[in-house]
Subunit: 344 residues, 2 copies
C-alpha cells in the first residue's frame, strides 16, 4: 500500500509501505477514504519538531473497516468509521471519564511506529475504544464535515468547553487557523452571544463570520488586546480561546481576558510559553485545556453534522490526491491553503 | 494612636502614628478590636518582600465603626464590622461580579500609605463597599472565628471554589499553614468526601483532621506525590488546592493532580514558579485561582459562623497584646505559633 512519509524538512513523500494488517485481537484495519493535513503536521514539515526519516504522518482520517481482530466486538468489515486523532483503549479510568487523550494505552497516529492517517489504510489499535461508527448511507457530501470532527472541530470545541463558554458568553478566539475557526463555530454552537475573532487574514475572517463571529480584530499583539478591550467596555472577555500556542498568542490571550476570566487553550505549546503566574494570580485569570479528547466529543458532534445542524467543512479549501500530498503541505506552509483534504 | 510598623527584616515596632480620621466622604474609621498576623506578613518580616521603613503592616481586623464620612450610607458609629483584607469600591464591574480583589479603586491594608490592620484604628476607604456589618449582640467568643474570615478562611474557600470542589470531591490540600488548614475546612464544607492534607507538622495535621481531613501525608515533594497517587488509585486527585506559592509546592500540586483535574491556587507566587505548560497541556490539568475576593465570601461565611456551623478559629493558637506584636511575629517566624491574634 502507499502512504505519506516524512524524511526531513519539506521532504514529504508517498511511498510503498507494508500493508496495514491486524496484529492484535483488538485491532481493526481501516481503508482510508478521506484524510487531511493538520497545522500541527507543519511543525514536522518545517523542521521545528523532529521526525525520524521515513516516519508516517497524518492523524485525521475516516474510512471503511476492512478487517477486524478476533477481540473486536462493536465493528465489522464494511462499517464506515471516524477515527479521532488518537487511539485509546476505551476502558481505563481516563477513557471512562471522557479524557481519552490521557489513556495510558493511547497514542497519536503517525507517532513512533504507528500508521499515519495520510495513507491508503491504517491499523487501528483498540478499535472498539477508538473508532466511532457512522450510520449506513451517509451522504458523501457530508464526509468533509465529518472529517473535521476527527481533530480540528473537536479541538476547537475543547477550547470552548475548557473556557466555560455557554449561553450568552462573550468570547475571544486567538488564532485563525482551522482550529481557531472551529473554536468560533464551537463557541457559537454553545450559545455565545458575542464571538470576537482575532486574525490577520481576510479570507479566514470571512470563514469566521460564516461560523458565527460577531467581530473581527485584524490587529496583533498589544494592538489586538487594546481593540478587544475597546469592544468589551474596557474589561476584556470572560472567555478566551487560545488556539495557537506561541508566546505571543499567550500574551494576547492573557491581555484579552477579563479579570476572573478563563483561557481555554488548545494550541500545542511548542515554544513552552512563559505564563506570567503573578499576573494570572492578581487578576484571577484561569487557564484550562490541553490535548482535546476528540473521541469523547465525536458522537455528539457527529449527530449534529448528520442532522445538518453543524458544518465545519468550510475549513477545507483545497483537495489533493494522495500522490500530490506534498503539494498540499507546500500550499499550507505557504498559506495558499487553510486546510487540505487528501484523497487516497 | 499606636500601630504596628515595619522598619526592616525582623524589625517590627509599635509606634505612635497619626490618628486614623475620615479624609474622604466615603471613609469610615474603625477602632480595631481584634487583628492578627498573616503568613504573608512574614514575607516582609523576613526581608523577602521589600517594605518602606516605617510602613504600616497587617491586613486582617474587625472592630467598631467610630466615625463615618458624609457619603457613607450603610454604616454608622457603633456598628461592629468585619473588614476583608482589601478595600473595594463596591460599585465597579469587578465588584458587581464578586471579584472585589480586582477593583481598580481597591487596595490592601498596609500597602503604600494605607493604614495597617495591626493598630488601634484604621481609616477604611469606600466603607460602604468594603465593610460587612455584624448583627448586634454577637458573642465575643465568636470574634476569632469571624476574624479568620477576613483573610485565611476566605482565601482557603477561594482555593476550593477555584478547584471546583463540590459534593463527593476528592481533594488534596498542599500547605499546612492557616490558609491550607482553612482550605481543608472549606473543602469539607463544600461537600468533599475525601480531603488529603499534606504537611510535615503533627500539630497542624491535628487541626486538619479536626477540620475534616480524611488523610494526612507528612512526606514532601516526589514522596508526597507518590503517596497521594497511592491513596487515589494511582490517578491523583481531581481537585488540588495549592496554598503555598513556591516552586516546590507547585510541583507537588501538579504531580498530585489527576489528569483532567483542577488546581485551585491561592499561595502568593512570590518566587514566580515555573508552570510546565507542556505537561499541563498533555494532562489537561487546569489552573485557577488568585487573590481571594474575601469581600464576596464574607456574608455567606459570616452567617455560618454566627449560626455555629463554621468555626475556623482553631487556626489561632496564640494571642498577644498590641504592645507585644513583635513577639507574635517571632513566634510565627520560628514556627512556634501557627497564627497569632493581636489585641489592641
Amino acid at each position: 500500500m502507499r502512504a505519506t512519509t516524512i524524511h526531513g524538512p519539506k521532504d514529504i513523500r508517498v511511498e510503498e509501505v507494508p500493508d496495514a494488517a491486524v496484529r492484535h485481537p483488538g485491532d481493526a484495519v481501516v481503508r482510508v477514504e478521506l484524510a487531511c493535513i493538520c497545522g500541527s503536521d507543519l511543525w514536522g514539515y518545517r523542521g521545528v519538531s523532529q521526525r525520524v526519516p521515513g516516519q508516517r504522518i497524518g492523524h485525521e482520517f475516516l474510512g471503511e473497516v476492512v478487517d477486524v481482530g478476533t477481540g473486536v466486538t462493536s465493528l465489522r468489515a464494511g462499517d464506515r468509521v471516524l477515527a479521532p486523532f488518537a487511539w485509546s483503549d476505551g476502558t481505563c479510568p481516563h477513557c471512562a471519564a471522557g479524557l481519552q487523550s490521557s489513556c495510558p494505552d493511547g497514542g497519536i497516529w503517525g507517532t513512533g511506529a504507528a500508521d499515519g492517517g495520510q495513507g491508503e489504510a491504517v491499523r487501528v489499535p483498540f478499535a472498539d475504544g477508538t473508532l466511532v461508527r457512522l450510520p449506513e448511507g451517509v451522504d458523501d457530501a457530508l464526509l468533509p464535515a465529518l472529517l473535521a470532527l476527527t481533530d480540528v472541530m473537536g479541538t476547537g470545541h475543547h477550547a470552548a468547553v475548557a473556557a466555560g463558554v455557554g449561553p450568552g458568553s462573550t468570547v475571544v478566539v486567538v488564532g485563525d487557523g482551522a482550529v481557531g475557526l472551529c473554536a468560533v463555530l464551537a463557541a457559537k454552537r454553545l450559545g455565545a452571544e458575542r464571538v470576537i475573532a482575532l486574525g490577520r487574514h481576510a479570507d479566514r475572517a470571512a470563514v469566521a463570520r460564516r461560523f458565527g463571529a460577531t467581530d473581527h480584530v485584524p490587529e496583533r499583539g498589544d494592538e489586538a488586546v487594546a481593540r478587544v478591550r475597546e469592544l468589551t467596555g474596557g474589561l476584556g472577555a470572560p472567555a478566551v480561546l487560545e488556539c495557537v500556542g506561541t508566546d505571543q498568542s499567550w500574551r494576547t490571550a492573557i491581555g484579552a481576558a477579563r479579570d476572573g476570566g478563563r483561557i481555554g487553550y488548545v494550541g500545542i505549546p511548542h515554544e513552552a510559553p512563559h505564563l506570567p503566574l503573578r499576573e494570572l494570580f492578581e487578576r484571577n485569570v484561569s487557564v484550562a485545556g490541553g490535548v482535546a479528547p476528540a473521541r469523547a466529543y465525536l458522537p455528539e458532534l457527529m449527530a449534529e453534522v448528520l442532522a445538518g445542524e453543524l458544518d465545519p467543512s468550510p475549513v477545507f479549501d483545497q483537495e489533493v490526491p494522495l500522490a500530490d500530498v506534498a503539494a498540499g503541505y507546500a500550499a499550507m506552509d505557504e498559506r495558499r491553503a487553510l486546510k487540505v483534504v487528501v484523497r487516497p
